[in-house]
Subunit: 403 residues, 2 copies
Amino acid sequence: MDKLKLGIIGLGGRGQSMTHVLARMKDVEILAVCDEYKDRAEKGGKIARRDNPLITTDYHKVIEIAEIQAIMIFTSWESHIPLAIEAMKAGKDVGMEVGGAYALQDCFDLVKTAEETGKQCMMLENCCYDRFELMVKNLVDQGKFGTVVHCEGGYCHDLRGEIAFGDKNRHYRLRNYLKRNCENYPTHELGPIAKILKINDGNRMVSLTSTASKSCGLHEYFTLKRPNDKELIDAEVKQGDVVTTTIKCENGETIVLTLNTTLPGVYSRKFTVNGTKGMYREDGDVFILEGEKPRGFIRREMKMKGKNHVRRYEHPIWVKYRRERKKGGHGGIDYLVLRAFVTGLLENRYLPIDVYDTAAWMCITPLSEISIANGSQPVEIPDFTHGMYKNRTERNGGMYDLS
Amino acid sequence: MDKLKLGIIGLGGRGQSMTHVLARMKDVEILAVCDEYKDRAEKGGKIARRDNPLITTDYHKVIEIAEIQAIMIFTSWESHIPLAIEAMKAGKDVGMEVGGAYALQDCFDLVKTAEETGKQCMMLENCCYDRFELMVKNLVDQGKFGTVVHCEGGYCHDLRGEIAFGDKNRHYRLRNYLKRNCENYPTHELGPIAKILKINDGNRMVSLTSTASKSCGLHEYFTLKRPNDKELIDAEVKQGDVVTTTIKCENGETIVLTLNTTLPGVYSRKFTVNGTKGMYREDGDVFILEGEKPRGFIRREMKMKGKNHVRRYEHPIWVKYRRERKKGGHGGIDYLVLRAFVTGLLENRYLPIDVYDTAAWMCITPLSEISIANGSQPVEIPDFTHGMYKNRTERNGGMYDLS
């Protein structure tokens, strides 16, 4: 049996949970685990003990291993693109956790490196594999939503506790929130929306405006929860509490993204797709197909009320996944995105999320920062495909089964 | 008993239902009813038969009646401001149905006329009196939401049938959708949000960007539902299906408005308020007060699940309204907004929605049109109060009881 030989860099909370999923796959062999903190690297070694990997705090040693075909990057946001470029230059394919870029040029560099080395770079955007997102994509691909004209998405997740206390746990979010004001986490839900709108498969994002609210949530939280940390309480938090980004696509669709992570709230990705014949809205779980009576169902009560809907319109990926009763983290979506990566490389196929998608999705962060800094001025979004998006065939609509 | 003597102009569907509510009030006397169509004017006369009003197709005859103190304008959008100006110049106070302006200058003219004549002009924005909007305002005013930093609202209402067939019924929407591309109906939900953010009471809106999706919904609908109307099918529909407008306020809050009226969907005003200690979101009815566990309730199941919440935090206006068990259209909000107008004028008080609010809310329409036409460029929102908004006392927070 062919095995995909991997090196893993980054073993914080996210890296550990992804490594757990990989370490259970029979066609995967983890040759090295690395984290800048020794205790975390050793934790990775324990998770992957089946494969007896090299355990190191020096990522160069991972990239140098000739037998490794692909590098998994589960580090902090800042190092994603530099590590991906270094790995591809060393001849490795790359699977990279989600996050935004820090400068537009980094996105161009990422694409250029992939093109020059011929290596693949896939953002591991698990939300592309969510059951509801795929159900809607399935319906859109079948034309049942008519012409899709508008989508919304967001990352509404109360992270105040993690931001305020995570730095003690060596988390990287705090420094980002103190120093930047931008759509810092665009790819849930932009990833699934881009797949639905066929971004880089006949369509592309052409411009955006971004507007940030004032920043109050973190300061109030610091004052309440970390009253003895004068430095933190006196710090100016640059990141606005809510950032709204409106994107215009070449084919005329609009996308609205909301970042809302420093205020009380319930988790939502605000997934919304509006077509001329159908619509889906995550908040309140509203699902309409034209010609049928409006009927809404509640995601948290899905087992009772919504199950028949989602089963009826289930995407083939999920039909198969449920049949095989495989399980992974995050309701299976970590498993599914990692399977797409592993299977794709083992079968020498073009990956369903490619370097052009990765760059297009990540560039929203620095472009939103520019728009916010300039009073919401519209900013152009570049075409990283050099015009190839107009007529691509290698992905067959941009998503494929995990088999 | 003092009676408020009214003249009513505009007796289409909306005018008739508002006249029904007014005709039941004991402290109101309807001296004249007018519509450009004779059958409608006569219908108004029947509704107000208690007061034996003049029935006319010439609105000048209404405005000329010396005994009339206030003119109610229930006409099509285009004539709201011209009629309001003419009525104020004739010495009448004005209550005006909702809608957007057609040019920024019209809003300035409206304000100038009110200032020069000393007459009041109130937009009859019934959503300001909705039970949930007032509950949230009540909580915000008591500080229970902490610092409010972001609000969302919208007008999501599938009006395709009304637009496609309404012109046969002399409705005005079709011509607007064919000729304009803008946030054409901003005031539900901008009105309630403006009251919550104290716009024109210490705060103001300073700029906006607006982005329109392509226009597909109406053309597809015309093709399907009016297949023999070649003129309509061949017409270019200028109005984008979804218009997203992001507004920045002087005190740092952001407001996002969504217009979505030509696609399948469920009715929603997307009412959302995010503060540092609490939040409310209409879609899925999520309601959080910090320190309490997140608990959501479903508006359509309010009688079972949400009733205790909304009763517990009920706004005084609604406490009293429920106690008196009065009833009007739209769940009572038409009644409440008309009571505020009638009581305010009878008691010679400053109206809770004044000409500055009316102008500020209506100007969003022409400003959004400019932004859309210029690739989502940010556009300044003027201060109609000449700086008075910074320190106003006449409204005591902008809302008062109906008693």
